[in-house]
């Protein structure tokens, strides 16, 4: 039954993607399908809980089928689009891109290795045992989101987190999974495929494959592809949301707008603190809309992103009714020690240097360093070629990164250590460190598609093809 559950999830997501547009690439379709499908499955779990219907396989299958059929009223056209894509994918040997295949084989091997590790071990990480996996198992057993453990305050810290991550675990448990970590493998696959699709939109296959390999091999991120923790899946949603939105702003067209808005909705449906990225994305959109006055899109986007956030807040307040102290201490003011600790950790992460128990280089490899090098080279080129030529709309992406990081940093600065039961140093060495995942695909996207990279990879492509 687990296969049926996963298949339904993909079909559901695929139906939404194909409803948005039939013109996505195969990598994009597969990448988005699981993210959207699993997001919607957890929306179903939420709605069934609200109407007090006990979760069963039958109920979920029926619900999935109804929505899939409703979305596929133009199935023959969708099928034709698929056939066309597969036909276009065929190619003759003389035009095979062997370099991309070589890189793909490395990616495939690394993916295989981390997958067998992931699927062998049941969850044993502290956060998973005390929260995510415990919630999921009990949700599947009790057939509702508001499980009995809330009554005794045994739900763990993630009890008030939006349900996408632990809900995805619960979904596969409902379909008979022994451990939920198959979901982690699909989240990782979706992150890589969606990223490849985004980068491929701007550059050639070799560059897209190389940067997908760099993304996948980022040491800390790769390790998380075998852990039952929510940061890597959150990175998949946030990066898909931000990059799709950026492509919409840069290239126009509706399809990336809708994918961006849907993914942003799910970003806050997986973690409420992703609201930092909603704010930064809205800022990026506002910068563009300032020029074209297209306020309708801004409103729709804001609605899509904020409604799930507000819905979950209401659910926690009205249904879970857990007394909660505010996670943030707004009266903190200027605290030099705290700021210095945070800046030192940030410096370690961004500039690949050690600080206390962490070492940015060991955690994120070349990711941030290559971004800064690309930025420096592009800035140098901007003096020669002009700012508009070199940066163009990518200035929006840089504005997003700066804003998102500032908001994300501020969130941590304001965290109430007593409520969080953790010191700021400990939070920086754990939560903040894992939260850096959300920036990695976006930073790599810029490095891969920036002006200097484009010059280099265009040259490489000319060399490769001999043209």
């Amino acid at each position: 039954m687990l296969t049926v559950g996963i298949l339904l999830c993909y079909l559901l997501g695929c139906s939404v993607v194909m409803t948005v547009s039939r013109k996505f690439s195969l990598a994009e379709i597969i990448g988005y399908s699981f993210l959207i499908g699993m997001g919607l499955e957890t929306v179903f779990l939420f709605l069934l809980d609200v109407v007090q219907l006990h979760y069963t396989q039958f109920l979920l299958i029926a619900l999935n089928l109804v929505v899939i059929i409703a979305l596929n009223r133009k199935f023959p056209e969708t099928l034709a689009a698929f056939k066309e894509k597969i036909a276009n994918a065929r190619t003759d040997l003389s035009s095979v891109n062997y370099v991309a295949i070589f890189l793909f084989l490395i990616i495939a091997y690394l993916f295989y290795a981390i997958t067998i590790k992931n699927l062998f071990w049941p969850p044993s990480e502290g956060d998973s045992i005390t929260s995510f996996d415990k919630l999921a198992r009990v949700i599947a057993l009790e057939g509702k989101l508001k499980i009995s453990l809330f009554q005794y305050n045994l739900q763990g810290a993630a009890g008030t987190y939006p349900p996408l991550f632990h809900g995805s675990f619960a979904y596969v448990y409902i379909f008979g999974a022994e451990t939920p970590k198959i979901v982690i493998t699909f989240f990782f696959l979706s992150l890589l495929l969606a990223f490849y699709g985004f980068v491929r939109t701007y550059t050639n296959a070799v560059a897209a494959m190389l940067f997908t390999l760099i993304l996948m091999a980022t040491p800390e991120l790769y390790a998380h592809a075998a852990l039952a923790l929510g940061n890597m899946p959150t990175a998949a949603y946030i990066s898909a949301a931000v990059l799709a939105t950026y492509i919409w702003l840069d290239r126009g067209g509706e399809k990336y707008f809708w994918i961006g808005a849907i993914m942003m909705g799910f970003s806050v449906w997986i973690r409420s603190d992703a609201i930092a990225f909603v704010l930064a994305t809205l800022f990026m959109i506002a910068l563009k809309i300032w020029q074209n006055k297209n306020y309708k899109h801004l409103l729709i986007y804001a609605g899509m992103a904020i409604i799930p956030f507000a819905t979950w807040l209401l659910y926690v307040k009205l249904k879970i009714q857990l007394p909660q102290a505010s996670r943030f201490d707004l009266s903190i003011g200027y605290n030099a020690t705290r700021l210095s600790t945070m800046l030192n950790y940030t410096k370690a992460y961004l500039f690949a240097v050690p600080y206390r128990e962490v070492h940015g280089g060991q955690l994120y490899g070349v990711v941030f360093i290559s971004f800064f090098i690309a930025l420096l080279v592009n800035t140098g080129l901007a003096f020669k070629k002009g700012v508009k030529t070199v940066f163009g709309n990518q200035a929006l992406l840089l504005a997003f990164l700066l804003t998102a990081f500032a908001v994300y940093f501020t969130e941590f600065y304001l965290i109430n250590e007593d409520v969080q039961a953790s010191t700021i140093a400990s939070l920086m060495a754990s939560s903040f460190k894992r939260g850096m995942f959300y920036f990695i695909p976006i930073v790599l996207f810029y490095t891969a598609t920036g002006y200097s990279s484009k010059i280099f990879f265009d040259w490489l492509e000319k060399f490769r093809t001999g043209s």
Binding site: A113, I114, N153, L154, N204, A205, A217, P219, A352, T465
Partner: protein, 256 residues
Amino acid sequence: MAKGKHHQPSEKSEKKPAGPTSAFGIGPLFRNFIIILVLAIIFIGVYALNDKRVELPDLYNELQTLKERPGDHEERINEIEHRINEIETDTSFFKTLFVGYFDEVHFVAFGAQDQIDKVTAEIQNGSIAPVTREDKLNYKVHTYRLLDFINQNCPSNSVILLPPADSLINDPHWNYVYDPGWVEYFIYPRLCIETGKESENPDLAKRVTHVLIVKGIGYDRLKYNVPLDKREKVCLLPVNKPVDVSEQTDTTQISN
């Protein structure tokens, strides 16, 4: 929404290859091969930068074994510690950028299947039964047998009083058996509460049915006296005196 304007990416490089030879007289196949060769050399070079780390797991294992084994091994211990230090502190900026990649390729990509086979063999230890989720948890979680013992010996409506955190928090051997949030994962639908935190959950505190005794702590929570000479260091006892001797929890399985 599907009918929105589709804006085709304009910069995709979908160039056709330039036939069997190019201006330089090298065919596309050969050019592809050159790029692959350069990439392979870069990847192998990056990998080789930190190849001394291959020794680390064996060194750490030997160090731990020597420290646990009685006898005079000081010279060898110093030697190993020196070597570990030499490898771990070989951290030029450039090298440390690639340490993480080395570890993931060597220990995960090349080592994952070997590690799984080794663990499987260790768990099975001659048995032909397939390795189960419980076996794996037992391998990963030191106290899994103790937690499973609770499940085997307490009815599903039991409430377990866990030992106080301050008695175990500095002893990694006991994992988090004082933490209700952690223990609950293993014993659901049974419930649990930490000693000393009863006031935070008075309803649950009133319903305690069993006391988990670890390091001999918790006998004072029982509503009856257990003679000193019969007190086990680790056991699970009903909070009220059992009427029937058979209701007493057998502690032999966990007392080790």
